[in-house]
């Protein structure tokens, strides 16, 4: 457990700054963030009945992952984490839409099944798009980009601090786990009651930490209205061309029907 927390911490710290190289990393984070948002809007606007057209939206992600030198398979495996949650949403469609639309090898496929699959596919592709943006750009540059795109500072600050706080809390959990491991007589599993204590302790520490961090902010005159980033990036022709090409591609995928 402690080792997997180490891995999570390492990845979170890496992601904070963004670690990709490649052609796409030379594009301003604002352009990348904007394209990701447009991509998501385009994907989410496709009808759930059109599962084939939804699947096509994974192709540009594979291409972009290559350009950003991000391993698409790891992107895929990470995005599957959301599958159980969206499957629950899809379940309602399976129960509700029972009209048979096709028969495959004697199995009757209902409209509900098609829609449930479309929901899952769309969720996975959306998560992949967000992950690709985060992995190739980094949380901090994305926060700067969001502020540059007009998102109020307070929301950007919240986003950034949640991320920072997450790292601090995982460190706390790691300390708790190490303390428990050191006295566990090499047991590989803990009883549920111990987990309850650990979670409770973690919550108490989270409140304590939040209080002290808030004091540290107030000690430096924070009043909730801070221009948090000094954005030094500049918009060049490169970004404009990237935007035009990306939006054209998204529009083609959205409006052209190959049927």
């Amino acid at each position: 457990m402690s080792r997997s927390l180490d891995k999570i911490l390492f990845e979170l710290e890496q992601v904070a700054q963004g670690h990709s190289s490649g052609l796409a990393s030379t594009i301003d984070p604002r352009a990348r963030t904007l394209v990701a948002i447009i991509f998501l809007f385009g994907l989410l606007s496709i009808s759930l009945n059109d599962i084939g057209r939804i699947a096509i939206w994974a192709l540009p992600l594979i291409f972009l992952a290559l350009l950003c030198r991000v391993n698409y398979l790891s992107l895929l495996s990470r995005s599957l984490i959301v599958l159980p949650f969206v499957a629950l949403i899809g379940l309602f469609d399976i129960l509700h839409e029972r009209e048979v639309v096709a028969t495959l090898l004697g199995i009757r496929i209902t409209q509900g099944w098609i829609m449930a699959l479309a929901i899952m596919l769309r969720a996975i592709i959306s998560v992949q798009a967000i992950l690709l943006l985060i992995l190739s750009t980094g949380i901090n540059p994305i926060c700067r980009a969001l502020q540059g795109l007009g998102l109020p500072s307070l929301f950007v600050l919240q986003l950034m601090m949640v991320y920072r706080f997450l790292i601090i809390m995982i460190r706390q959990l790691q300390e708790l786990m190490r303390a428990a491991d050191s006295r566990s007589a090499a047991k590989s599993h803990y009883p549920l009651s111990l987990w309850a204590h650990l979670v409770g302790e973690l919550l108490l520490r989270a409140v304590g930490r939040a209080k002290v961090i808030n004091q540290a902010m107030k000690a430096r005159l924070w009043d909730g209205r801070v221009p948090i980033f000094n954005d030094k990036s500049c918009w060049r022709w490169r970004e404009t061309i990237f935007m035009i090409l990306s939006i054209t591609g998204i529009a083609l995928m959205r409006y052209i029907n190959l049927k």
């Binding site: 710290e13 904070a16 700054q17 949380i139 901090n140 926060c143 950034m160 601090m161 991320y163 920072r164 790292i167 601090i168 460190r171 930490r209 002290v212 961090i213 004091q215 540290a216 902010m217 107030k218 000690a219 430096r220 005159l221 924070w222 009043d223 801070v226 221009p227 948090i228 980033f229 000094n230």
Partner: protein, 241 residues
């Protein structure tokens, strides 16, 4: 604003009614380096939080540079008193060192040009210019402590209040920090259990015990009084043994 710090008949009670400070009377004058020593729970950290207005007195007065601490003077006082927390992780909450050091000056409403100047000056003062673009999560304990100090120096405070500055530092980082603090001409209030640090940096020592000042005197006077130190659960620094 001059750089004195004064507590007049100060009392502080926690919300549960427990009395943390009882009748504190203390005046620290311009440029003085004072060590506040005492056992755990003596009230050192509470007293430090009161200097910056993060806690308000239950009764009595805190006067910073002749200005009494009250809600209307909070901004002025927080600008004058730089508070360095015990755990640097609590003090560093922004995504990069640069943003963290710039946090205070931006709250002062300075222009971006002035903010950049303050950031560079503060980092130069603590010898950490090369860490400018790093994330606080990537720093060592000693580096984090330096940056935590820089975050307050960038607000050009007249008084520095530090809580256990050498806690969890390795000997080399501790020595570097002591060298750094020696060079400061700020009024300095240092809460510490590190008797050797107190002996090296401060000429005046204040012992706090159960919320009250037990002794206030020169380092020689206090550190040579073994009986007094033992009665307050403290021990003599090596230099005085």
């Amino acid at each position: 604003m001059h750089h004195s710090l004064e507590f007049k008949d100060l009392y502080y009670r926690y919300p549960n009614g427990q009395e943390a400070l009882r009748g504190i009377n203390l005046k620290i004058t311009h440029g003085e380096h004072v060590a506040l020593i005492g056992a755990n729970g003596a009230g050192k950290s509470t007293l430090q939080l009161l200097t910056n207005g993060l806690l308000m007195p239950s009764s009595g007065e805190v006067i910073v540079g002749g200005v009494k601490l009250q809600p209307s003077t909070l901004r002025l006082i927080r600008q004058s008193v730089g508070l360095v927390f015990q755990d640097a992780d609590n003090q560093l909450f922004m995504s990069t060192v640069e943003e963290d050091v710039a946090f205070g000056p931006r709250n002062l409403g300075l222009s971006e040009e002035e903010v950049s100047g303050r950031v560079i000056d503060a980092l130069r003062e603590v010898g950490a210019e090369h860490l400018l673009s790093k994330s606080p999560t990537q720093l060592s304990g000693g580096e984090k402590r330096r940056i935590a100090i820089a975050t307050t120096l960038s607000m050009t405070p007249s008084i520095l209040v530090m809580d256990e500055p050498t806690a969890n530092l390795d000997p080399k980082s501790r020595r570097q920090l002591i060298t750094l603090l020696r060079g400061f001409d700020h009024t300095l209030l240092l809460a510490t259990h590190d008797m050797d640090l107190a002996a090296e940096l401060c000429r005046r020592i204040v012992i706090l015990s159960q919320g009250e000042i037990m002794a206030d005197g020169s380092a020689e006077e206090i550190f040579l009084n073994k009986e007094l130190l033992e009665s307050c659960s403290l021990e003599q620094p090596y230099a005085y043994r």
